[in-house]
């Protein structure tokens, strides 16, 4: 399986708990990465557009707005294919970490 790009992975991860609007996704990404990855709106929506074209994310009806600004916003949701893609990527990363830990342990054993 081809690895996902960081932008794609973090957007799918941010949508895993439930529907989000763009700003919510950006905030979640900043939180997940301790502020190391601050995604710009252009990058975010460009990637969302491609994820929607690929059938991994879809637009959903917005909940009743809490503020005037919320009225302008669209919400996004993972599709079943998007969730499977995210699961596969997490599984792949777990495998990588297992291998890396094993190599590190072996290296420490030799040292």
């Amino acid at each position: 399986m081809t690895p996902l790009t960081p932008a794609v992975f973090h957007i799918l991860l941010a949508l895993a708990p439930g529907d989000r609007h763009g700003y919510g996704i950006m905030q979640d990404i900043a939180e997940h990465t301790d502020g190391e990855l601050k995604m710009g709106a252009g990058t975010l929506y460009g990637t969302i557009q491609r994820l929607m074209d690929a059938g991994l994310v879809r637009e959903v009806e917005s909940p009743p707005p809490e503020t005037v600004r919320d009225e302008r916003r669209r919400h996004y949701r993972l599709t079943p294919a998007g969730r499977r893609t995210l699961d596969a990527e997490v599984h792949r990363l777990e495998g990588l970490i297992r291998v890396a830990r094993g190599v590190q342990r072996a290296a420490r054993g030799k040292g």
Binding site: T2, G22, G42, Y45, T47, R50, A54, T85
Partner: protein, 133 residues
């Protein structure tokens, strides 16, 4: 500052603008408001990042449009025809004046550069999309 951001949003191709400009504008408003409460440095960093990201992604979005593909193909065909004309002229007039030979050599060099540029552009298409399974 938000007015400038809204004006710059107009630089996106129309389909992208129609689909996302409203959300991007709302996100910028919220980000601006949050950053302003965190101090001047955060605010400047936010403004620089937002505008930089916008300008970088404008170029990326235009690259995906049909008009850009047509423009790129037109330039490519024009350059090829232009180069062929000069090559034919050189064969038809081998003992012509030095200027003609100079023009032929120059055209070949320019055509090589153009072909390389077009080749590189065609090879570097949508890396994000290609990686999405």
């Amino acid at each position: 500052m938000t007015a400038l951001y809204r004006i710059l949003l107009r630089l996106y191709p129309a389909p992208f603008y129609d689909r996302f400009a409203r959300d991007m504008s709302a996100d910028f408003d919220d980000g601006y408001s949050d950053a302003r409460h965190k101090g001047l440095v955060t605010l400047i960093e936010f403004i620089m990042r937002s505008h930089g990201d916008l300008l970088a992604t404008v170029a990326a979005q235009w690259r995906y449009t049909e008009s850009f593909m047509i423009w790129r193909a037109s330039v490519s065909i024009s350059l090829t025809i232009w180069a062929l004309v000069f090559v034919i002229a050189a064969f038809e007039w081998p003992r012509g004046p030095a200027t003609l030979l100079f023009v032929v050599q120059l055209s070949l060099a320019l055509t090589t550069c153009a072909a390389l540029t077009i080749g590189l552009a065609l090879h570097s298409t949508r890396p994000e999309e290609q990686r999405i399974p």
